[in-house]
């Protein structure tokens, strides 16, 4: 069942957050600050910078592991006249919502809502660009562009 795979990947994602939470001595405020890091990221230690950028790259990798199933079956979906794009978009949206769950749970006020909506939009668009582009440079830089845009979103919605 595909749902099993989704649960496993969600648990892996949860585990990453538990490790981060432990690293911040189980202080929720520190975890929230980390998730919502803005340009002040560059005043933190190199470890924090790597962790923040690494987390964004990890989000892309995790979705790739799940979406790969549909990509490999594309030809057979097309033969059956299935709507490949719609299937893929639905799965990407489900993944994006799961990936953004920590952000959704931490929503504070209107600016928080705007932040999450922008975050989901940017993430989805960049993931689709990464998926549809056959250019290796685009593939490699999409998570980094997301990282920069996320910092910008966090900065402008404080």
């Amino acid at each position: 069942m595909r749902i099993n795979r989704l649960v496993i990947l969600s648990l892996i994602y949860l585990l990453v957050y538990i490790v981060l939470f432990a690293q911040f001595h189980f202080d929720p405020k520190m975890l929230i600050d980390f998730i919502q890091l803005d340009s002040s990221l560059f005043m933190h230690t190199i470890t924090v910078q790597i962790e923040f950028i690494g987390l964004q790259i990890f989000k892309f990798c995790l979705i790739n592991m799940y979406i790969d199933f549909y990509i490999q079956l594309k030809e057979m979906i097309d033969i059956r006249k299935g709507n490949y794009r719609s299937i893929l978009f639905k799965q990407i949206m489900i993944c994006a919502l799961i990936i953004m769950l920590p952000d959704i749970l931490l929503i504070r006020g209107i600016s928080g809502v705007i932040r999450v909506i922008l975050n989901i939009l940017v993430f989805t668009v960049l993931y689709i660009v990464q998926l549809t582009s056959k250019n290796k440079i685009v593939f490699a830089t999409s998570p980094l562009i997301y990282c920069v845009l996320l910092i910008f979103i966090n900065q402008s919605t404080i």
Binding site: M1, R2, R5, M65, D68, F69, Q72, L73, E75, M76, I77, D78, I79, R80, K81, G82
Partner: protein, 202 residues
Amino acid sequence: MNKVIELKNITKAFGPNVVLDDIDLMISKNDVIYIHGPNGCGKSTLLKIITGLLPQDKGTLYIEADETIGALIENPEFSNYSTIKENLEFLYNLKNKMDYKKVEDLCNRFELDLYDKKNVKNYSVGMKQKMGIIQAIMEDQSIILLDEPTRGLDDRSVIVFQDIMQELIKDNKTIIIAAHDYIDIGYNRKIELKSGRLYEDQ
């Protein structure tokens, strides 16, 4: 004569290489067609155009609206990090609810286990080929297109394949097989594809 597929003036080229050159082909219901020709003559391209996987450069393609197509084109690609059941279940459930008994029976005939916990990544080329044949026929499709279906199959599996094809012919399916190895399943038409043109054997 009940026409199910018609190709008119179909042309397809890859750069300067014209693979299909203004071909016409009419396929009637219950036809069992063998398309043969040397490697690279355009057999796969022709099947890909019929399935809609590849657009033609020129010409028109007609497929009867009520017909459903099942196809095995070249090396079948499955999700490698999923099981055989996950792959077949997803494909079947795109349009219908999976008939587990029927698919399990097809798998057993090809000595595959539908409930195998191993990922498809660990399957051999022959096992993936069997999966490809199963997915092409499991949904009771009315038109079946198979490209080199016996590639990588052992002798026993080839006999199973022949038996299944004969059952499908009895069920009045339209079958088109493109291959350069001839395996007799009781074709009523044989067509040679040579230099981009079709020549029907008399």
